[in-house]
């Protein structure tokens, strides 16, 4: 369950893009603290700034103002190699379009982050097989992404995101390209990993199915946090039993 230690903190986070010469404020003074072990959904319509927030937290883009702290480390202070180290070991990424490397098999995709981390090959392969078993693809180790269904590709991507035991998994619309049933399976898998492995999950989404499993939901509109709902608020319809424990 979530601890009181913050794994992600953002302070006055803003991002402006130049759009046809006019500055567009995609994120406006966002303050967000995420505890270790939490399952947080960032909800909002397209263009609300949730993907921009995802990129900032993931160290994939630089904010215009403000700071992101990952494990109390200010990301703006990191150089390229330190950022690569952080992306490799501390954060696991999952994307809407799966983003597997097409020329590599499922197992090779999962072991790639261990290669970048300098893990010995045998150890990496062992880890890869173990992870593909966890996501239920133990039989599909040597298939190329093009030989897998969308749901299976996303499972490979989830296994890959876990390769170096990250503290955080960042998921950008992980169910966006999947049908209802497959999407549900992926959400269940993410929740299971959150509970069993204690990994913090931060998911940018507009899939309402995510509400059921989230510890907190952050609603974003026009680059600002509109409201944050706790588990207790979300469970009102279901009952107060789960609400008590959080």
């Amino acid at each position: 369950m979530a601890s009181n230690e913050y794994v992600v903190r953002t302070k006055d986070l803003s991002k402006e893009f130049m759009l046809g010469g006019v500055p567009l404020r995609a994120l406006d003074n966002v303050q967000l603290d995420i505890r270790r072990g939490e399952y947080v959904s960032i909800m909002g319509p397209s263009g609300s700034g949730k993907s921009t927030l995802f990129n900032m937290i993931g160290g994939l883009d630089k904010p215009t103002h403000g700071t992101v702290f990952i494990n109390d480390v200010d990301m703006a202070q990191l150089d390229a190699q330190e950022l690569a180290y952080l992306r490799c070991r501390t954060i696991g990424y999952i994307f809407q379009t799966f983003n597997l490397i097409p020329v590599m098999t499922a197992l090779e995709n999962v072991t790639l982050p261990t290669v970048f981390a300098g893990v010995p090959t045998d150890e990496g392969i062992e880890r890869g097989i173990e992870l593909l078993n966890i996501v239920g693809l133990g039989e599909r180790l040597h298939h190329k992404p093009s030989e897998l269904s969308g749901g299976q590709q996303q499972r490979v991507a989830i296994a890959r995101s876990l390769a170096n035991n990250p503290a955080i998994i960042l998921a950008d619309e992980p169910t966006g390209n999947l049908d209802l049933k497959t999407g549900k399976e992926i959400i269940t898998l993410l929740k299971k990993l959150n509970q069993e492995q204690g990994v913090t999950i931060i998911s940018a989404t507009h899939d309402l199915k995510m509400l059921d499993v989230s510890d907190r939901v952050v609603w974003i509109r026009d680059g600002r946090i509109e409201r944050i709902e706790e588990r207790a608020d979300l469970d009102i319809k279901v009952g107060e039993m789960e609400g008590v424990e959080s």
Partner: protein, 203 residues
């Protein structure tokens, strides 16, 4: 486990064998297009090799080459090589552009800029060096046949083989060097992109 993750170190690992493996697979999977790219360099180097072989034959027969002819040869060879270089730059740019998303993903997984650059340069060099070797062999071979049939096979025996092989070797080096130059700009462009920008690209 998670306690260690509070310390951020510098990512230093550059898995060269992995870069080579990915480069090789990318060539294989886009075999048709790789061949077209490679044949651009191959033809350029083959042309240079025919000129060099022709010069070797003229030297063997003590034929004086006019300055005008020499200049024209240099001009033609330069043009041919320029066109080859432009061709391979164009193909590498295309190859990089259609893989922006892949590059962004690799950077998310912890790939250093240097890894991305290395991967594309290896891909370019593999094609460039193989094409240059083939080009030198084909060009010299065709010209030797032409000399044999046109001026008699005895000329072949009189060639200074040491000088000729040396110059053909230089052709191959030149081909490799030009491919390197043609690849470095697209590779750098790909590697320097912020991952978010690379992932956003839709083709």
């Amino acid at each position: 486990m998670q306690e260690q993750q509070h310390r951020i170190e510098r990512q230093v690992h550059l898995p060269l064998s992995k870069a080579f493996e990915i480069a090789l697979r990318n060539i294989r999977i886009r075999f048709g297009r790789s061949m077209i790219t490679a044949s651009g360099i191959l033809l350029g180097i083959a042309f240079l090799a025919t000129v060099i072989t022709q010069i070797a034959a003229q030297n063997a027969l003590n034929i004086e080459v006019t300055e005008e002819l020499r200049m024209r040869n240099i001009w033609l060879v330069t043009l041919a090589l320029l066109m080859s270089t432009i061709g391979i730059t164009n193909s590498m740019l295309m190859s990089v552009t259609e893989r922006f998303k892949e590059i962004g993903t690799m950077k998310c997984l912890g790939a250093l800029d240097r890894f991305v650059v290395t991967m594309f340069i290896l891909e370019g060099m593999l094609m460039g060096v193989i094409a240059s070797v083939l080009g030198a062999v084909v060009g010299a071979g065709v010209q030797l046949l032409a000399i044999g049939f046109g001026q008699g096979w005895s000329v072949i025996g009189k060639l200074d083989w040491g000088v000729l092989t040396g110059r053909l070797g230089l052709c191959i080096l030149l081909g490799g060097g030009l491919t390197f130059l043609a690849t470095i700009a697209p590779a750098y462009r790909a590697a320097k992109m912020p991952p978010a920008a690379a992932l956003r690209v839709e083709i």
